[in-house]
């Protein structure tokens, strides 16, 4: 569990990092907190010839309000978000961080790194889709913004070009009644199923049921009806949203987790997320 040989480059600015990425091409990987990449390198599942360390680039770890929205720099750590006072509109983000690994992981792992790694059960990936985040990336041609819905393209695959770098994430709207919840046998593990809901959008997003964070329009429709029908958020509605999500997904039996069980977890977690969100 020692990595293959690589060259280490420290970028001192975004432009410098992009320059290195352009120069070194496919053989280069960006490293920030290293919480996923280093483990993969130690297993030699990842063998980049060059590591471009962006962790010392000044200013990339800012967390700041932007009108109604919130900007989070790519280098902000999970722990920084967890402990920041983001107000009721973005409390969801702080609360969700307790599901991210363990404290040592949260103190090193970064928001940008998590999005770029794009594990389909990763909390930041779900949150980005849930809240219509805009992911700001910079490459040799300058900056562009990618909608979260377009960013995640497959298993560990994103819209990021090899010579691009995530710079920051913009969460354009507050979500005071939104919650992320998960189930795993151990605290801190990647979830078997993760569910995030925003009652006001309304929006239902699942992790662990598809190669990317999955929006479930069928469940969102139930929420929409509930809102328009002025039914109020009774427990019965939460159950219906959960059931709709469970029914909508396309999953199959896997070792240790049957499709039936995974659907059951979706039903439970979506309902519980709705219930908790309704108390906000």
């Amino acid at each position: 569990m020692k990595p293959a040989q690589f060259s280490y480059h420290r970028a001192r600015s975004i432009a410098g990092a992009v320059g290195l990425l352009t120069e070194l091409g496919d053989e280069a990987k960006v490293i920030a907190g290293g919480q996923s990449l280093v483990a993969m390198m130690n297993f030699r599942l990842a063998r980049p010839e060059h590591l471009i360390d962006i962790s010392r680039i000044p200013g990339l770890d800012a967390i700041a309000r932007d009108g109604d929205g919130l900007r989070i720099g790519a280098l902000a750590t999970h722990h920084a978000v967890e402990t920041a006072d983001l107000g009721p509109g973005f409390r969801l983000l702080s609360d969700a961080m307790r599901w991210v690994g363990h404290l040592p992981i949260r103190t090193r792992g970064t928001v940008g790194g998590s999005l770029a790694h794009a594990d389909a059960t990763a909390e930041w990936c779900l949150l980005a889709v849930l809240l219509d985040a805009r992911i700001v990336v910079e490459g040799p041609a300058g900056r562009r913004t990618v909608e979260a819905g377009d960013f995640f393209q497959g298993v560990f695959t994103t819209a990021l070009e090899p010579d691009e770098l995530i710079v920051e994430v913009l969460f354009p709207r507050p979500a005071p009644r939104a919650v992320l919840t998960e189930f795993a046998e151990r605290r801190g593990d990647f979830a078997i199923v993760a569910a995030a809901v925003d009652l006001d959008a309304p929006r239902v997003v699942l992790g662990g049921v598809a190669p990317v964070p999955l929006r479930v329009p069928e469940a969102e429709a139930v929420l929409t009806q509930a809102v328009s029908g002025n039914e109020g958020y009774s427990t019965r509605i939460h159950s219906r949203v959960g059931a709709a999500a469970a029914e909508a997904i396309d999953v199959r039996d896997e070792p240790g987790v049957s499709a039936h069980y995974r659907r059951g977890l979706v039903r439970t977690l979506v309902a519980r997320a709705c219930e908790e969100a309704a108390t906000r």
């Binding site: 569990m1 020692k2 990595p3 293959a4 040989q5 483990a39 297993f43 030699r44 363990h102 189930f183 046998e185 151990r186 605290r187 801190g188 593990d189 990647f190 070792p255 240790g256 987790v257 049957s258 039936h260 069980y261 059951g264 977890l265 039903r267 439970t268 977690l269 309902a271 519980r272």
Partner: protein
């Protein structure tokens, strides 16, 4: 019963003094094997089999040797080492001996088996070298389960072992047992499969070896529980005299049995150091620890129990199959699990009739060895399930049915021929139940939450002497311990023990025993362990033997030295030897005139520096040697664990709300360390019940190569444990102590499984396998609630 020889009046025994190991360990100044760095030291890594079963067609290491930084690479043919072979003295139909080569020669038998060793200037280059190896295999069909191993047309893992069976013993078959079952009003059956586990010491295995020209010795620093046995195997494999091998043990970060067997890697790395005449270090990484270290616990039970109408057990009929993986471990052999289960299964209950067949089958998976508790977590779980099932069938309370069957009159000789010394079986159960009732958990159980309460009653044989191990028919028979004590010129002592602390704090507890016996301050006692040049012989630490046997040897040596001190003092005080006594404060005094005393320093001064003053016939120096062995069947610690769990119907989640342990290990030398042993053991038992499992796919590829897949529980999953102590002193160990190392692990799976099944009581579903699948819990509750 003979008069107990333990003493309770000492200042040290029973005191939870600050651990003597702690100052260096908490300050980061411990010295573990990976902390050792020698000039010119090289680093080893292994080329390991990528297939579960195959013939080795070719091993080509030329490209390895060309990798920058690689110094050497050796295959089995290059090193030419002897095999490691563990033997039982049993006939061929009961035991088939199999050899484990240090590096695979002709055949590979599991994914991860070492095929070649690469030596490089740093660990990175060593792994680069491993990647460059070209090993060609002719793949053979793998055997990946016990049932596949026993199938009629199964491929053979070892050609010499028909039906892949290494051990097949039927130790007991009470006459007329079939009639007992035919006539019994109640017969219950438990079929269970338990998951393969890794003992997972935080510190993985490792070794630093180098040849010393001045001493003409191979110096091997390795984190083993059994240094002398490593010396024997290494000397044998490498063709050295035992005096040419010195094994020393630095600080250890756990062992739990995994380091209680001789590993191939430490032999290969030492042999490479010998060949290269340069220091070689090998540190096992976590992937290798999870895939290629000795595993344990994958067992299948099919057990029936007959009961009378009142719930008294009448007979037990058991079939045990242990999936031991690819090789027999040294020194215990593949018999370790089936022999333990067969001998001890009746547990704490009065079982009048018993029949058992125990088998060890070999498969194309990483081999197994001892792991804290050895089979007892499994058979205790089976016995407790049988009790619970019979209770349910007969409408008897599950605690009451245990009471009706517990051994209460001691000594008790069981149907298995074992004599159980006095314990608090009934008292521990009563107290455990009372604690949970007083805390209100039975009221919580009656609420509309899904809550269950489970118990496990068990004993743990500790202090296996030579006689007890001889019954296993091992060819090397552990048991005794030898201690040598030496007082220096200043009156302080150093004491050897053949036991080997791998985290249990022997430097503290053994010193407490010595200080108590001689009336010394703890700080005046140095404990010497883990050095084959300084210790005559030792069996190391396993089977909860250290305090019972090693502690008794240390006490006996101390008493002998005390007699010498009294003899010299009597002479110098011009008194009869019977009129002087140790004064409990580092001196010897006249019993009737305590003011007249000589300190140990004064006596040592005479013994070494003014030997002409010694009494006639007394030689210079102050040393004594004593040994201790247990003549009978050993001494039984016991405990009852009580667990409250809550199940989550929406997820199948299992949460432990309360854990109570009532334990009795006789006289606790250091109660805080005993409690630490209980808590750590319980954590490992919970791990087996709810979390950990090593699985393989159909091709024999391991599916848990990292701690992401191998779900060792964290502090977040392990509850606080309330520990209550009872004390039934052992009559035949020097300090009244019984072993305390394994009980926590033994009791936890049964209690957790019992609690989960109690919580499922309204569903009609009972779960018997571990680790408990959350999906199974989910489905049981879902079906019940519609």
């Amino acid at each position: 019963m003979s008069e107990p020889r333990f003493r309770r009046d000492g200042a040290w025994i029973g005191a939870s003094v600050p651990r003597r190991e702690d100052p260096r360990l908490v300050a980061g100044r411990g010295r573990f094997v990976d902390d050792i760095a020698l000039p010119g030291m090289l680093h080893a890594q292994f080329v390991r089999s990528s297939v579960a079963h195959g013939r080795i067609v070719a091993v080509d290491l030329d490209e390895v040797r060309a990798v920058p930084g690689v110094v050497a690479a050796f295959s089995a043919a290059d090193l030419g080492l002897g095999d490691i072979t563990a033997l039982l003295d049993r006939p061929p139909h009961e035991f088939v001996p199999t050899a484990m080569p240090v590096l695979a020669r002709d055949t590979v038998r599991f994914v991860g088996e070492p095929v070649a060793i690469v030596i490089a200037r740093d660990p990175y280059a060593a792994e680069d070298g491993v990647e460059a190896a070209l090993v060609e295999y002719e793949e053979l069909p793998p055997v990946v389960s016990d049932t596949a191993a026993l199938a009629d047309d199964a491929p053979l893992v070892h050609a010499e072992a028909p039906r892949n069976t290494l051990v097949d013993v039927s130790l007991f078959a009470t006459e007329g047992i079939d009639d007992v079952f035919a006539e019994a009003p109640c017969v219950v059956r438990v079929q269970t499969k338990t998951g393969r586990q890794n003992a997972l010491p935080l510190e993985t295995r490792g070794v630093v070896a180098h040849w010393d020209d001045r001493d003409e010795q191979l110096l091997v620093q390795t984190n083993t529980q059994i240094p002398h046995q490593v010396r024997t195997v290494l000397a044998g494999c490498a063709g050295l005299a035992e005096k040419q091998v010195r094994v020393t043990v630095p600080d250890m970060g756990g062992g739990f049995g995994q380091k209680c067997v001789v590993g191939r890697e430490e032999i290969a790395a030492s042999a490479a150091a010998l060949r290269l005449r340069r220091p070689v270090k090998w540190i096992e990484d976590r992937r290798d620890a999870l895939t290629a270290a000795f595993l344990a616990r994958e067992q299948r039970y099919d057990v029936r129990a007959a009961f009378d109408a009142e719930g008294h057990i009448l007979g037990l009929d058991a079939d045990v199959v242990c999936d031991m993986g690819a090789y027999s471990c040294y020194p215990f052999t593949a018999g370790i699990e089936p022999l333990m289960a067969s001998a001890e299964m009746p547990s704490v209950y009065r079982v009048p009739a018993y029949r058992v067949r125990g088998r060890a089958v070999t498969t194309n998976k990483a081999p197994t060895g001892p792991y804290r508790g050895v089979s007892r977590p499994q058979y205790v779980m089976v016995m407790e399930r049988l009790m619970e099932r019979a209770a349910r069938e007969l409408g008897v309370d599950p605690v009451e049915i245990r009471r009706r069957n517990l051994i209460t009159v001691f000594p008790y000789t069981g149907v298995n021929g074992i004599t159980y010394d006095p314990g608090s079986y009934r008292e521990s159960l009563d107290l455990c139940e009372q604690v949970l009732r007083d805390e209100g958990w039975y009221d919580v159980r009656d609420s509309d939450r899904v809550i269950g309460i489970g118990y496990s009653c068990f004993s743990e044989r500790t202090g296996y002497g030579s006689g007890a191990f001889a019954q296993r028919k091992m060819q090397v028979v552990p048991g005794f311990d030898i201690s040598e004590i030496r007082m220096d010129v200043s009156g302080t002592v150093s004491v050897t023990t053949g036991t080997m602390s791998h985290g249990q704090s022997h430097e503290t507890t053994m010193a407490q025993i010595v200080a108590d016996r001689l009336g010394l301050d703890l700080a005046q006692v140095k404990i010497v362990q883990g050095d084959t040049d300084r210790i005559t012989y030792g069996w190391g630490s396993f089977a909860s033997r250290s305090i019972t046997i090693g502690g008794s040897a240390v006490a006996a040596a101390s008493e002998k030295l005390g007699d010498q001190l009294r003899e010299i003092a009597a002479h110098l005080l011009d008194a009869d030897v019977d009129s002087v006594e140790l004064d409990g404060a580092g001196g010897v005094r006249l019993r009737d005139d305590p003011e007249r005393r000589l300190s140990f320093a004064e006596l040592a001064d005479v013994a070494y520096l003014r030997a002409h003053l010694l009494p006639k016939g007394v030689g210079p120096g102050l040393t004594a040697t004593a040994s201790f062995d247990v003549a009978g069947d050993g001494t039984f610690s016991n405990a009852t664990h009580g667990v409250v769990v809550e199940l989550d119907p929406g997820t199948g989640g299992v949460e432990i709300l309360r854990y109570v342990c009532v334990e009795d290990c006789g006289v606790a030398i250091h109660p805080q360390i005993v409690e630490g042993q209980c808590r750590g053991g319980i954590a490992q038992g919970i791990a087996g019940a709810l979390f950990e499992q090593i699985t393989y796919d159909a091709a024999g590829q391991p599916l848990a190569p990292s701690l992401m897949e191998y779900k060792v529980p964290t502090a977040a999953e392990i509850p606080d444990v309330a520990i209550h102590h009872l004390e039934t002193p052992c009559a035949f160990t020097a300090n009244g102590a019984k072993g305390a190392g394994e009980g926590g692990t033994i009791g936890a799976p049964a209690a957790v499984l019992g609690a989960v099944n109690d919580a499922l009581r309204d569903t009609g579903v009972e779960l018997d396998d571990t680790p408990i699948a959350r999906e199974a819990v989910f489905r049981a509750l879902e079906a019940h609630r519609g």
